[in-house]
Symmetry: C2
Subunit: 381 residues, 2 copies
């Protein structure tokens, strides 16, 4: 019997004992080498850097070092599995950083899930780092963590579950709207999921000009002053749902142009897709099992379909964005990543597809132009 991907992944990880290693760029052949890389020579370097802190990135690994930090509270589709369970994912992310952008990335998993303690721990280790990629930290804690770290640090801080996802979604959506001749301001967009990704997607779409967005969570459509609204959901209510509609995801999807799911497997039925407008755009991004499988969505009339999976067309994959975002920020000394920069990234991503079709609205992660285009966007803006 052929081994499945899970069994192969377990075997690979056990044989590697970790996917990353830390290597020297220099050799120690004798005491003269030692004298240069350690005492006494390193004292001159330390003295120089201590007196010229802006030179730190030129004399240490910090200029190319990003930490991938998680508390293990929202790992992939697995939920709150803790720091040990998060570690293989964070190492995988570090492999992607190196492969796609040549960035040295180190996984850091945390023993606390208290946002204030996470903030303090990250601030404490920050002088080591050129950038911070927050990963798989659950909402709403992730919002205050990212916001506070951005305020207090002068290095790029990105919660990738928010911004990586939203950038790529926007890039794909720009082409989908182009194919279907829609203007974003007139397009009815339904977002399923109001966690990290859903919230960031709504924010970036709103910034891009979307004015008819409905966001749904487990309790249905979010509206202003809905009982129990957390502060971030209340914030979402302010920029969505202009008619203060109430109801379920099913209600929301009636006459919608676009569905964007970052929620749970199987939430969307064929009937729900049928209730959408002509040339419906369905981004069913729950991973690994989408809100509706592409073949069912197609059968129900969806015109453009994207998922998070590599085995269907139009893979919406964060790896299109985060390597280049950090590459650009590190190389061009960008200290704060703004929503406007990310919109610029999304626009350039969409333009890498010269002739968008329903089967190709976003470039492949193996397209070598992607990382450079993204990095360039961060520089140029």
């Amino acid at each position: 019997m052929k081994k499945d991907v899970n069994q192969l992944a377990l075997e690979l990880h056990k044989s590697l004992r970790g996917k990353m290693e830390i290597c020297s760029k220099t050799q120690i052949k004798d005491k003269y080498d030692l004298a240069l890389i350690y005492t006494p020579g390193v004292a001159a370097v330390s003295t120089y850097v201590a007196n010229n802190k802006y030179e730190t990135n030129n004399y240490t690994m910090r200029g190319n070092l990003v930490a991938v930090i998680s508390d293990g509270s929202a790992v992939l589709g697995l939920g709150n599995i803790g720091p040990e369970g998060a570690l293989p994912v964070m190492e995988g992310k570090c492999v992607l950083f190196k492969h796609f952008a040549g960035i040295d990335a180190i996984p850091i998993v945390l023993s606390t899930q208290d946002p204030q303690k996470i903030i303090e721990a990250v601030l404490a280790i920050a002088p080591t780092l050129g950038g911070i990629n927050l990963e798989d930290i659950k909402a709403p804690g992730c919002f205050i963590i990212e916001k506070t770290l951005r305020e207090k640090l002068d290095i790029p801080v990105i919660h990738d579950d928010q911004w990586g996802a939203s950038v790529v979604v926007l890039g794909a959506l720009i082409n989908a709207l182009k194919i279907t001749s829609r203007e974003i301001k007139d397009t009815k967009i339904v977002v399923s999921g109001a966690g990290a990704a859903g919230t960031a997607i709504v924010k970036i779409l709103h910034t891009k000009g979307a004015r008819n967005i409905l966001v749904c969570d487990r309790e249905g459509i979010i509206y202003d002053s809905r009982p129990g609204n957390s502060s971030h959901k209340q914030e979402l209510a302010q920029i969505t749902n202009p008619k203060q509609q109430k109801g379920t995801l099913k209600d929301a999807l009636v006459k919608a142009d676009v569905f964007i799911g970052v929620s749970s497997p199987g939430l969307v039925s064929e009937d729900m897709v049928r209730s959408m407008n002509e040339q419906a755009i369905v981004f069913a991004l729950a991973n690994p099992t989408p809100e509706i499988m592409p073949d069912l969505a197609k059968k129900a009339g969806a015109y453009i379909i994207a998922t998070g999976r590599s085995d269907y067309p139009n893979q919406v994959n964060n790896a299109l964005a985060f390597p280049g975002i950090f590459r650009g920020a590190l190389d061009h000394h960008v200290k704060k990543i703004t929503t406007e920069m990310l919109m610029h990234v999304a626009e350039n991503l969409s333009q890498l597809v010269a002739d968008p079709t329903p089967e190709e609205i976003i470039p492949s992660i193996f397209d070598e132009r992607v990382m450079k285009s993204v990095a360039q966007s961060i520089r140029d803006y």
Copy 2:
């Protein structure tokens, strides 16, 4: 004009832009590779590890990962130069870890010098790590940091300025005493410096049986209830100075058998060495400039002389100890490093010198037997 070591070190560091990099052990050639190292395959690994936490080290890099952590408060002989200045030294230490013991080591420098905050930050990131090497953290904060982390974590935690130094000093001293036919219990030992290294040296010598130790700091010989004694100096007073002698370093050295300096350049004069007993043993370990230069000490009658320098015989170098200590602890799942283990390391280190002479009391760090012997000692004990 020939370039000096400082200039060469600066040039080397600038050209390398950091001495370490983080490398993948695996390749990403296509989407099938991606499916194994990242989603969806990694989900199986994360689930397995989350449910079997004891397997974490077998499926991630954690089993071979040590953090070299500093707050930059006591860097080499440079003092409190802060985290940026500390970073080149910590990277250098990481190069030594890799070169001498094949250990993946990552530098972490901190934005805080508050012991309680350091403890919290290290506890927060600890699930990432197989071991913790505290480095260049000033006394007395280093003592409570190490003690608390050892109590709260089940991975090896070593403040190397304390234990690395003390292990190698003891190893060298065992041979020096052998050559001069002294028993440690009858030997008068004067330690200059009551910081991290001095304190640990006193503790390990006392555990080894030394009963006639005098410790001096800037104010002279430490004695019981000396006005202003901090708690760690009061602790030192309990195990040293049996006759409650008062006075200066000069007074202490009269009729001493052994001088161990981990203090400041030039503190010891030729006259002070002359006042010591016959066959005096002088370990002048202040770095890079010793308490007394070896040629002066020799002229004044010292019989066995050691320094921290590579350009004189008998280099007392922490790098003899720490790579093997962590190698042994990681490989044999040793969760707590004890003083008894470290004494065992010192004894085995001393025995690597088959025929000790005044010019050879400790092996070279380039002796390939060293790391294995040290690691073996940690396993065996």
